[in-house]
Symmetry: C2
Subunit: 126 residues, 2 copies
Amino acid sequence: MSKPGLPLTDVSACAYAPLVREPLSSAAAADIAAKLKALSDPVRLRLFSLVASHANREACVCDISGDFDVSQPTISHHLRVLKEAGLLASERRASWVYYSVVPEALNLISSVLSTAADDMALGAPA
Amino acid sequence: MSKPGLPLTDVSACAYAPLVREPLSSAAAADIAAKLKALSDPVRLRLFSLVASHANREACVCDISGDFDVSQPTISHHLRVLKEAGLLASERRASWVYYSVVPEALNLISSVLSTAADDMALGAPA
């Protein structure tokens, strides 16, 4: 399903082997590390979680601001960082900007880390 | 199975709800963000992957150094950051230090992010 306003991304859950199967290449590590860095701030991680847990994985800036003990400009900065990392997309509707999760980006990080955990739980050979 | 030299950790894959099910609390976000931050550097992510993909999810410092275009002190610094974040454990044997993955830490991050991806793939309601 295409959606107007979503950024172009080259991310794919199939792009890289899980990190326990073979050492990550420099290029893969740079790509994934940039996304992890965007999520590595507690306020950004909570903002991302707030959008992701909202109806339709989408939230208006007007829904977000009240839940955080930081200023509106700070929230806008953090949302912009998440958007630049390809984790959130944004769309303006009338007076408000709506943010939504980019599923491919979350799938990419998840596939690299979660298969790792599954392999470890199963005791798969390295 | 207990193993001498492993750090005490309070991490658990069951400790937090996945981030798309409900907004992360401040405490959960701080805990997970700290681990993501340790993995958000490309060299550290590759180091972690190298250890995780090694036999028995464990690697000697002597196995690691040749694969990176950075100095040994820099590698030691990055390994220490990963250890302080609870992602790697270390143990000295004779002249060498061996690093191993702490499965609970990877499972924690994975459970928060991967269930999110699964939910999104299934189109689960928020």
